[in-house]
C-alpha cells in the first residue's frame, strides 16, 4: 500500500522479520519486549543490564496520573469517539513542554560535539551549556517539573539505577555535571532549588543505552499511551459521556459553571447596514488588538 525501501522490517505470507530477526522466533526464544525495542531502534540484541535499564524506565514512564496526556485522553473520550482517538490524542500531547525527550537528547549531543570541537571536558561543556541557557533566560532542559516541586520521584532513582547497573556513560556524566552547575549557579543567584526531572534522568539513561533522541522520545511518550488508554477506558466505562451531567454528585469537568470568561464584554451584533462604519471604527480605535491571539 505504500511502496518504500525500508531497513526496519519486512512481512511475507510466511513471517514478519524485524531487522533480520523473525519476530515469532524472537518471542519464542524468550527475549523480552524491551529487548525487541533495541532490535527495532538499534538493530541489535542488548546486554542484560541495558535491557534491565529499559525495563525500569518503561515501567516508571508508563503511568503518571493526571498530566496533559491523561487529561487529553479523558477529555477526548467524553465525546465517545472510538478509543484509539483518545489514545492518539494523549500521545500527541507530548511536545516541547510535556516530555520533551528528543530536544533534551539533541541538546546533549550538540554540546558533546562542541566539547570535542572546542577541546573542553564534559564538565566544562556542562557549565557552558548551563550558562548559555541561563544567560539567555531559557529553561535548561531536563530540570524542573511543575507538580513534583521537590523532584520527580522517578528522576533521581533512575540516575541511581543507571549507576547500579554500571551503564553510566558519557551522557550521565554530562547530565550530572549540568545538574551540579545548574544548582550551584541558582544557589549563588539566591534562586530556589529546581531538581532534575524525568526527562533529564530518563532520557539520559536512554541515550547511554544507545537510543537516538527521537527513538528515546518515541519510547518515553508512546509508553504513556498505555496508561492514558487505561484512563480513557475507565472514563468510557465508569464516567459520563459529555462530562457535563447535572445528575452527577460532583460538578463535572464541562459543567457550564466551570466556564470563566475573561474576554470582551457582551455586545450587540451590528446591523449589516452599519457594518462598514462599525468595522472601520473598530480598526481605527485598535482596542481589539489586546484580544488578538
Amino acid at each position: 500500500m505504500f511502496p518504500r525501501k525500508t531497513a526496519i522490517a519486512y512481512k511475507t505470507e510466511e513471517k514478519t522479520v524485524l531487522r533480520g530477526y523473525n519476530l515469532s522466533d524472537l518471542a519464542e526464544a524468550g527475549y523480552s519486549f524491551c529487548d525487541a525495542m533495541f532490535v527495532l531502534f538499534q538493530g541489535r540484541i542488548p546486554a542484560e543490564a541495558e535491557e534491565k535499564m529499559l525495563k525500569y524506565e518503561m515501567g516508571e514512564f508508563m503511568e503518571h496520573s493526571m498530566s496533559p496526556s491523561a487529561a487529553s485522553a479523558i477529555s477526548v473520550i467524553a465525546g465517545r469517539p472510538h478509543l484509539p482517538a483518545a489514545v492518539a490524542a494523549a500521545v500527541m500531547t507530548f511536545g516541547s513542554a510535556h516530555g520533551p525527550g528528543a530536544a533534551h537528547g539533541y541538546m546533549m549531543n550538540q554540546y558533546l560535539d562542541r566539547a570535542l570541537a572546542e577541546g573542553k571536558t564534559v564538565e566544562e561543556i556542562a557549565k557552558t551549556l548551563v550558562d548559555e541557557y541561563m544567560d539567555h533566560n531559557q529553561p535548561v532542559m531536563g530540570m524542573g517539573q511543575p507538580q513534583h516541586r521537590d523532584g520527580d520521584p522517578r528522576a533521581e532513582p533512575t540516575h541511581l539505577k543507571q549507576e547500579e547497573l554500571e551503564i553510566n556513560g558519557i551522557y550521565l556524566r554530562l547530565q550530572r555535571s549540568i545538574e551540579n552547575y545548574f544548582h550551584a549557579r541558582r544557589k549563588k543567584e539566591g534562586r530556589s532549588y529546581v531538581p532534575v526531572n524525568c526527562v533529564g534522568a530518563g532520557n539520559t539513561a536512554l541515550c547511554d543505552i544507545g537510543f537516538a533522541p527521537n527513538a528515546a522520545w518515541c519510547i518515553g511518550s508512546v509508553v504513556r499511551g498505555y496508561s492514558c488508554a487505561a484512563h480513557a477506558v475507565y472514563t468510557l466505562k465508569k464516567g459520563r459521556a459529555w462530562a457535563a451531567s447535572r445528575n452527577e454528585p460532583m460538578v463535572q469537568m464541562l459543567d457550564l459553571s466551570m466556564i470563566k470568561y475573561a474576554g470582551p464584554e457582551d455586545r450587540p451584533v451590528p446591523k449589516q447596514e452599519e457594518r462598514q462604519e462599525y468595522a472601520n471604527k473598530q480598526k481605527a480605535t485598535g482596542d481589539y488588538k489586546k484580544w488578538v491571539i
Binding site: 496520573s65 482517538a85 489514545v87 509508553v223 499511551g225 488508554a229
Partner: protein, 342 residues
C-alpha cells in the same frame, strides 16, 4: 454599548423558538455551590508531590522491585500483579505486535512525517489506524464474550455456539479466522505458547472451536489469524476487549516511531502543492465550464426532496458520485437491541 436585548435580529423573534431569544441572560453560569467542585476522579492512578501511585502501588517502588512495563499493564488495566507466566505471555504478544511491515500504522506515521511534524504526531496518527477491520480487537473481543455468555445462558456447547458465530459473522473483518496466515505459523505458535504457559481459558478454547467451524463452513482455506490468536489470549489474560485494542495499538506505535524516523532520514519532506494527481487517476465528472454567477439558478439543482419517492430517487442518484458519502452505510445501534452501553 447598545442594548443587548432590544434589537430584532433575523428570525430571533419567531414564536416558534423554544424561549425568548431577545431577553436571554448574558454572562456565565455561577459556580454550583450545591455540589462538590470538579476534580479529576480516577480509579487508575494518583500522584502527589513525592509519589506516583497506580492502583495502590507506588510506581517507583514497583520498578525498584523489578517489575516492568508488562507487569504494570496488568496493574493499570486489571489492578493486579500478574503471575510470571502471564507476564511472559503478554511480553510475547507485545513482541509480535511491535512490527507489521509497511502496513497502515507505518504508512500513516510516514505520511505525517513527510509534513515535518513532531514524532509524537506520527505515533499518534499510527494509533488511529486501529479500527474495526485493521486490529479490530474491541469488535472481536466483545463478540467473543457475547457468544460465550449466550452459550452459558442457552446451555449450548462451545462448538455449537462457534458454528452460530461463524454463520452470522463469517464475512466480518474481525472474525479472527481468515486466509491471512496460512503460511505463517506465528499465530499458531502464539496459542501453543499460551497453552504451554498454562494461561489459556474459555476464550482460547472457544477460538479453537471458531477456527474449526470456519474451516468447515468456508469453501476456501482459512485458519487462525493474528487477531484471533492475540485477542483470545489477551481475553484469557483478563484484558477487556477495549484494553486489548489500545494495548496492541500503542505497542505498534513504537514501530511506527521507527518508520517516522526512517521516512525523514531516507525520503525527506513534502511541501504544500508538491503532490500532483494525474488526470489518468481521475474518474469524476469531465472538465466543464464554470457557469457565470448570474446564471447560477439555471444550473443549480436544489437538493431537497418533498416526497419519499423523490428522496429515494435523489439518494440513489447521489450514490453515483464517489466520496459524496451516500454509498456508505455505517452500522448504528438498533435501539431495540442495544449493545452494552458504556
Amino acid at each position: 454599548m447598545g442594548d443587548l436585548n432590544s434589537k430584532k435580529i433575523g428570525n430571533l423573534d419567531s414564536p416558534k423558538l423554544p424561549y425568548d431569544y431577545l431577553t436571554r441572560e448574558v454572562g456565565t453560569v455561577p459556580l454550583d455551590q450545591n455540589r462538590p467542585p470538579f476534580q479529576w476522579v480516577s480509579e487508575v492512578a494518583y500522584k502527589n508531590i513525592h509519589r506516583i501511585v497506580a492502583r495502590g502501588y507506588d510506581t517507583t517502588e514497583l520498578v525498584e522491585e523489578g517489575y516492568g512495563l508488562v507487569d504494570i499493564l496488568f496493574v493499570d488495566f486489571q489492578a493486579r500483579i500478574p503471575t510470571i507466566e502471564e507476564e511472559q505471555m503478554l511480553n510475547y504478544i507485545m513482541i509480535l505486535s511491535l512490527e507489521d511491515g509497511l502496513s497502515m500504522p507505518a504508512a500513516l506515521a510516514r505520511i505525517v512525517a513527510k509534513s515535518k511534524t513532531h514524532l509524537t504526531q506520527a505515533c499518534g496518527a499510527s494509533i488511529l489506524a486501529f479500527g474495526h477491520a485493521y486490529g479490530g480487537y474491541a469488535a472481536f473481543g466483545n463478540r467473543l464474550s457475547q457468544y460465550l455468555e449466550r452459550a452459558r445462558q442457552e446451555g449450548k456447547s462451545l462448538g455449537e455456539m462457534a458454528t452460530e458465530l461463524v454463520r452470522a459473522h463469517h464475512r466480518d473483518d474481525a472474525l479472527g479466522v481468515s486466509d491471512l496466515m496460512l503460511k505463517d505459523p506465528a499465530a499458531q505458535r502464539l496459542l501453543a505458547r499460551a497453552e504451554k504457559l498454562g494461561v489459556t481459558g474459555e476464550h482460547v478454547a472457544f477460538m479453537r472451536e471458531i477456527v474449526k467451524a470456519a474451516q468447515q463452513l468456508s469453501t476456501t482455506a482459512v485458519d487462525l489469524d493474528m487477531l484471533g490468536a492475540t485477542g483470545a489470549v489477551m481475553a484469557d489474560l483478563g484484558f477487556t476487549p477495549e484494553a486489548t485494542w489500545t494495548i496492541i495499538a500503542v505497542t505498534r506505535s513504537f514501530g511506527a516511531g521507527a518508520h517516522f524516523i526512517e521516512e525523514v532520514e531516507r525520503e525527506g519532506f513534502t511541501r504544500l502543492g508538491e503532490t500532483l494527481t494525474s488526470p489518468e487517476d481521475y474518474d469524476g465528472p469531465p472538465d466543464r465550464p464554470v457557469p457565470p454567477l448570474a446564471e447560477r439558478q439555471q444550473h443549480a439543482v436544489p437538493a431537497h426532496a418533498e416526497s419519499l419517492a423523490q428522496w429515494k430517487a435523489l439518494f440513489e442518484e447521489r450514490k453515483k458520485l464517489p466520496a459524496s458519502g451516500f454509498a456508505l452505510v455505517e452500522e448504528i445501534d438498533d435501539p431495540r437491541n442495544p449493545k452494552k452501553a458504556h
